[in-house]
Assembly symmetry: C2
Homo-oligomer: 327 residues x 2
Amino acid sequence: MNDFPDSIHITEEGPREGFQFEKQDIPTARKIELIDALADTGLKQIQVVSFVHPKYVPQMADAEAVVAGIAPRDDVEFIGLWLNLQGLQRAIATERLHLEGSVALTASARFLERNQKRTMEENLQQQREMAAAYKAAGIPISRGSVMAAFGCNYEGPISIDRVVLQVGDILAVAEEQGEKIHVMNFSDTMGWATPRSIREVIGAVRNRYPDLTMSLHLHDTRGMGIANAYAGLEMGVAHFDACVGGLGGCPFAGNRAAAGNVCTEDLVFLCRDLGIETGVDLDKLVAVAELAEDIVGHSLPGSVKTGGSLSDWYATRGDGGRRGRIA
Amino acid sequence: MNDFPDSIHITEEGPREGFQFEKQDIPTARKIELIDALADTGLKQIQVVSFVHPKYVPQMADAEAVVAGIAPRDDVEFIGLWLNLQGLQRAIATERLHLEGSVALTASARFLERNQKRTMEENLQQQREMAAAYKAAGIPISRGSVMAAFGCNYEGPISIDRVVLQVGDILAVAEEQGEKIHVMNFSDTMGWATPRSIREVIGAVRNRYPDLTMSLHLHDTRGMGIANAYAGLEMGVAHFDACVGGLGGCPFAGNRAAAGNVCTEDLVFLCRDLGIETGVDLDKLVAVAELAEDIVGHSLPGSVKTGGSLSDWYATRGDGGRRGRIA
């Protein structure tokens, strides 16, 4: 059964996922240049920085300066990432970010231990404290996230039952604060997802929580990224995180080669062909992918930027590139 | 509706597709080394050379020497590619190749003109002459192929009706010789295919010719390769061409970056996860992909070879890596 959405919401994470992974210094001005260019493509939400300790992610030491430098605009939400109260305070202090509280659990105990030095129970408790802090600061808690939801390089496959249980825990943490989570993100932190496991996880969670909006954070570690997105689209998933050019990778994920996130312009290319609206100008985005390559100083894995967007041909389809739905 | 096959047949085309695309000289012995290594992975059919004029594809000038050097074995079919009678004669003269007659038409008139200097009608006539030559040589005509079936960099999108018509023409050419084609290959020569167009083309041809076995030849020019294979698998397609490491690309296809064929080991990874038998030892194949990189002297686009095969974890699933079918 295919249940393609009419449109999808993309959270562009290239600036955050991409730059944190780069080894060389990237000038603050160039980070801002990329963000401003992304904001001009039709993307509606861009994760621009993470507020983490510079000891662990030195590339984000200039997070405040980056946020301060972004050209103001009303049509794009600029968001940040934080993992603890100190990070949240920094995000609030910028006075420029769209603030949303997120309850995030990690489905792999071993990854959690290595990545955040916490047990599952400590992590749940820490998320409760974060939720209380959001409530105290008047920040709505609208989003949940299950990290390593499809598999873990340290722990192996992750059971679907554990993912479903963690979704329940996440919803409960928000409810304790009188808040209701609408969007639940499933993160393939280490590139284990496959079209099969996408279908199984989304299907199992939807069975139990039919009103939740599903969201996918995909990596392309084993070449399944776009196929996984397609499997998600078939299941009606309408929220995706993606990175321009395929920027990114998790420096703590222990991959032999930490492949980047699913590439935004390749995802947009797929959606345009399926007649699924993204709101993004594909050719502007391809130009930004080329800018991103210039900024990081090496080629990026995205394919459409080298293969060609075919926009001239799609335009001749007469419906602005959109086609009828497929059965 | 998903209609996954129980098993798929892979035609490995890395040696032919891959080496013809490389600019540097590759010693004959190293080509043979790759072919012998591929033959030891469980692959059942390997396209090892093309018999084309060295003026156009200098890398294939040693085709006869390559074929002569392959270690003999009964469990693998070694096949070649030719485009005309001279090429066929060379293939026959090797006395070592598995010979199958193929009727191949090209759905793009402009690509045909550029690539083979023929009109559609001349090409059809030439295929009739080739079919007569197969018959005269006692070579069965068992396979058809529609090139550029999904789109063309020179002509744009290709109508599904034209593909269906060409399938009919191909079947008729074989029938004129009293032969019956069983496998019909659809080649995404220039990387235009998408999951949607895979479904549309396969669906339309199957509607008209329900008994034909469908086969896909996919490139990864725009990052859709594995997603296209997945869309084909969902439609029950059980024959795929693929190239180890993602070797290949068509030197005449006019891509800005002629991305390689869909990567064999990534396809095998996808199939193993879906419980679809390939007969291939994935880890042996990954090692051959690394060998291929060593031989061509640069990295290749396949992902599983860098991301990791996860075979240890799949083995712990208790069913040798195979899972129940997904709904």
